[in-house]
């Protein structure tokens, strides 16, 4: 559709030039490219560049590796311990859950990046550029999602060699992983963007960690959710973290492991429904909140935050 549009525009332009070849125009676009496409393409390249930077720079590389390595060490020591009388190994149960938790942490990363880059003026620069905000958000989604997938692979590949009893390898388990991950990111990244827009400074971002840690604690990541009291189970099931963990377990655990779950079922339908609701709410709200936040960005605001941050250092 765009191609025909572009062609028509070109023809129109040629026709016009033919009648008045010397007339130069200051405002008529010479290049009939769609600005939205340009912004999305710029966002894509922005995301790819920042992703590459995060894997070619010492400090970032450490932060990519530190968490998975710590988790792998923990898993290694848990690998032979049995969970209750189920005959399942704790390490086997934990690995997919940790994958789910890591996927959910994209929310925190998104939120932190947004606040930090609002503070340092990256967002104001985007605002000063045509199509800049759209491209910025696109780029951020690619950076965070791409980094997350890489981090999952860093954990999963050695994990699969280390841990016995995983049902990985079948096409079905990869397919489940794929849809749970995509839906999970759709559910969590917009929430991260909303939180990142609402927090006034990078420092106050510390507060977001507390509810997230609480959500992780009750989400059945480290201990099956069925061993929690009923009311905690109810709260856990309202969070996307629980469903990401459950989805990951359904992808990687053998069929008999389902007995430790609520209702002895992987509940794929419910997983899709809950994550879907989170995604719908997040995707509906995020543009509104982001736009409101962007509207308020100004040089004076950035300067103020810079002063505040420098005073903290000094």
């Amino acid at each position: 559709m765009n191609a025909t549009k572009a062609k028509n525009a070109k023809n129109a332009k040629n026709a016009k030039n033919a009648t008045n070849p010397r007339k130069m125009s200051l405002t008529k676009p010479m290049n009939p490219m769609n600005p939205t496409n340009t912004a999305l393409r710029a966002g894509w390249s922005r995301g790819v560049i920042e992703l590459r930077q995060s894997f070619t720079n010492g400090a970032d590389l450490v932060s990519h590796l530190l968490w998975p390595v710590m988790m792998l060490i923990a898993l290694y020591f848990m690998r032979d311990r049995e969970f209750g009388s189920s005959g399942l190994l704790l390490g086997t149960l934990a690995l997919p859950s940790i994958l789910g938790m890591n996927a959910a942490m994209g929310m925190v990363t998104m939120s932190q990046l947004l606040t930090a880059e609002r503070e340092d003026g990256t967002l104001l620069r985007a605002k000063a550029t045509p199509g800049g905000m759209r491209s910025y958000v696109t780029g951020k989604v690619i950076t965070v999602a791409g980094g997350l997938v890489a981090d999952l692979a860093i954990l999963l590949i050695p994990g699969m060699l280390l841990i016995d009893g995983l049902a990985a390898g079948s096409a079905g388990s990869w397919l489940t992983l794929a849809w749970v991950l995509v839906l999970g990111l759709l559910a969590t990244l917009p929430i991260g963007a909303i939180l990142g827009s609402l927090f006034p400074s990078a420092r106050s971002q510390g507060l977001i960690q507390l509810p997230v840690l609480a959500m992780i604690a009750i989400s059945g990541i480290f201990y099956p959710v069925t061993s929690l009291p009923d009311w905690l189970q109810t709260i856990a099931q309202a969070t996307p973290i629980y469903w990401l963990g459950l989805g990951m377990r359904s992808a990687f655990l053998p069929e008999d492991a389902v007995t430790v779950e609520i209702g002895d079922s992987w509940r794929h339908l419910e997983t899709a429904a809950v994550l879907g609701v989170w995604a719908a709410v997040g995707l509906a709200l995020a543009p509104v909140v982001l736009r409101r936040m962007a509207r308020r960005e100004s040089g004076a605001g950035v300067a103020e935050r810079r002063e505040a941050a420098l005073q903290r250092v000094g």
């Binding site: 130069m24 125009s25 200051l26 405002t27 008529k28 676009p29 010479m30 290049n31 009939p32 490219m33 769609n34 600005p35 340009t38 912004a39 393409r41 710029a42 390249s45 922005r46 560049i49 920042e50 930077q53 720079n57 880059e117 340092d120 003026g121 990256t122 104001l124 620069r125 605002k127 000063a128 550029t129 045509p130 199509g131 800049g132 491209s135 960005e297 100004s298 040089g299 004076a300 950035v302 300067a303 810079r306």
Partner: protein
Amino acid sequence: MNSEGMEAMTTNTGDHGGVALDVEGLRMRYGTTDVLREVTFRARHGEVVALLGPNGAGKTTTIEILEGFRMRSAGRVSVLGTDPAHADEAWRARVGVVLQSWRDHGKWRVRELLAHFGSYYVPYATEAVRRPWDTDELLAAVGLSDHAGDKVRTLSGGQRRRLDVAIGLVGRPELLFLDEPTAGLDPRARHEFHGLVRRLAAEHRTTILLTTHDLAEADKLADRIMILSGGRIVADGTADELARRTAGADEVRWTCDGRRFRHTTAESTAFVRELFREHGEAIGELEVRRASLEDTYMTLVHEHESGSGGAGEAFGAGEGQAAVSSR
């Protein structure tokens, strides 16, 4: 010569008779405080205008309203024929904003970042204005060719500011906003920066609005200076016009028969002529100090800060300050 060229260009496109900025009755109110009151001015295409004023005069607020970063309380604002409060991305592509960067994009390399920001402007190229500016050409223009491969966070303050300018220019804007562009630069970096701005105005006929609290900078760069004080524009003209504005600002000193004299007058030449006719050879050590932009500035700012209507009284204080700083 500059305005002639612009005239030809603007008639060609019929662009609002050559007015790039048109502000009328602009008001900004935070709570019960008026930060800007009835600010009215215009700038023609190709003009370099400085908004001069003490800290807190409302310079940044004014420029941010024009940039479309801030909503105004009242008044009419037209930037390149569009109200910046409701402007679209196509308008944004014609306007350059030089931001004061701090630590954003620190991991990006200079050339990579500039090429990236350039890519946003591709759909806004016109037959007359090729967009974006070629990355290597632009790097050379701001003197950053040697640092093209450096990471942004390794640049010095002056180099970063030049990169800020390059990013503001990469879309070949018709209008460029510079808010306190040389704040925090050392004298050499400031000098280089002034050269860059003058070249932009001369070679590319970019309309430039800059804010500064540095008189010398406004004098050096701007075709026209507007003095903002207490949220109002209290003077508007070329540096010479402003300097002439304060009546009696020229100071004449001389000795006559070994005694020292001092007199302030608006007509210093006539006064000196009269002096010689009356005293002839008896006059020695004659010194005429022309009214300076600084005198006018101090006078006006003092007048508006003290809120006094008595120009004579205000002028006295202004003169005293100017005399101190001229030594």
